[in-house]
């Protein structure tokens, strides 16, 4: 749930990057942190294990400027992707306003993507939120690996797997090179802001 401070005219919006382990959620945030450093006043916070896997979450506050006189503070979070950390994933989803689902486009990850998306559906239900109603953007990450001869699922297959019912905006992307990372971010911010406006009006 977004929080609106009427006195200081600040809107805080929580956007969570969700998806299977080693899918590139943290890499998305790291790219945003490098690319938009002017809009980011504080350090990115990462709670990770010694092996550089996300343990709890990453956090990146992002200033988007003003809409109708209100300062938009976007709070970007990631969840830990590893299967065993579902309790933590649920905690991070509390009060979420918008979600980017980062899928791994490698052929061998097909099943893990679908499982993770199903779990997102269940986790949102525990907060009485519906995956069909919350602002959501799909990102098919790692398409750059195609050039290295690694088998990548065609976007049509990924869409059929994950987006045939959801019908949400989707992007092919490469979090490592930044391809479509800003586009994904812009899309989720705009969908989320529109949804918050609708709720308030």
């Amino acid at each position: 749930m977004s929080f609106i401070n009427l006195r200081e005219k600040i809107v805080q919006i929580k956007i969570v990057y969700y998806g299977p382990g080693r899918g590139g959620k943290t890499t998305n945030l790291e790219y945003i942190n490098r690319k938009f450093n002017k809009q980011i006043q504080s350090e990115m916070v990462s709670l990770k294990t010694h092996g550089d896997r996300t343990l709890f979450f990453d956090f990146l506050p992002f200033d988007m400027g003003k809409i109708k006189g209100y300062e938009m503070k976007i709070q970007l979070y990631t969840v830990p992707g590893q299967v065993k950390y579902n309790a933590t994933r649920k905690l991070v989803l509390k009060g979420v306003d918008g979600i980017v689902f980062v899928a791994d486009a490698q052929e061998q990850m097909r099943e893990k993507n679908i499982r993770s998306l199903n779990q997102l559906y269940e986790n949102l239900q525990t907060y009485k939120q519906s995956i069909f109603k919350i602002p959501l953007v799909l990102q098919f990450n790692k398409v750059d690996l195609r050039n290295q001869g690694i088998p990548i699922l065609p976007t049509s297959v990924l869409k059929k797997d994950m987006n045939s019912k959801l019908k949400v905006p989707s992007f092919e992307a490469s979090a490592l090179t930044g391809y479509n990372v800003p586009e994904t971010l812009k899309k989720i911010i705009s969908s989320t802001v529109v949804s918050i406006q609708k709720k308030l009006l």
């Binding site: 749930m1 977004s2 401070n5 504080s42 956090f59 979070y77």
Partner: protein, 132 residues
């Protein structure tokens, strides 16, 4: 009570309470956050500058973790937390199911005195909401 939007008047009254009860006794910084990690309000003594947004995100995560641990040992909740440092200490106290009061303070205040004031602060804030 609607946490999504807190009225200007409510916020001003909360700030008054925080200043009167906590900042004036020497607390460096007080933040009220919700369990999702949003900042409801933050007050400091003018000299301490903390990155309150990151702090709120971490504090909400921290409290949620401790809450989950409480359930594992059969407790309903651990309603307060205290972290002790050399120069700075942090005290967390639950206001209700959705809100958390966080105080950062140095060596000059005793924990007992702070806790008494935190309890009074929370009572006053709750009254404020009950009235509205």
């Amino acid at each position: 009570m609607n946490y999504g939007v807190v009225s200007q008047e409510q916020l001003e009254k909360i700030d008054e309470i925080l200043t009167e009860k906590l900042i004036k006794i020497g607390v460096d910084c007080v933040i009220i956050i919700d369990m999702a990690g949003n900042i409801i309000t933050a007050k400091d003594n003018g000299t301490s500058k903390y990155d309150v947004y990151s702090f709120a995100a971490l504090a909400a995560g921290n409290f949620a973790t401790v809450d989950a641990m409480a359930k594992l040992v059969g407790e309903e909740e651990f309603s307060l937390l205290f972290h002790k440092g050399t120069d700075c200490n942090i005290h967390f106290s639950k206001i209700d199911d959705e809100l958390l009061l966080i105080s950062m303070f140095g060596k000059d205040i005793s924990l007992g005195f702070l806790r008494l004031n935190v309890v009074e602060t929370i009572e006053q804030i709750k009254k404020l909401w009950a009235r509205d």
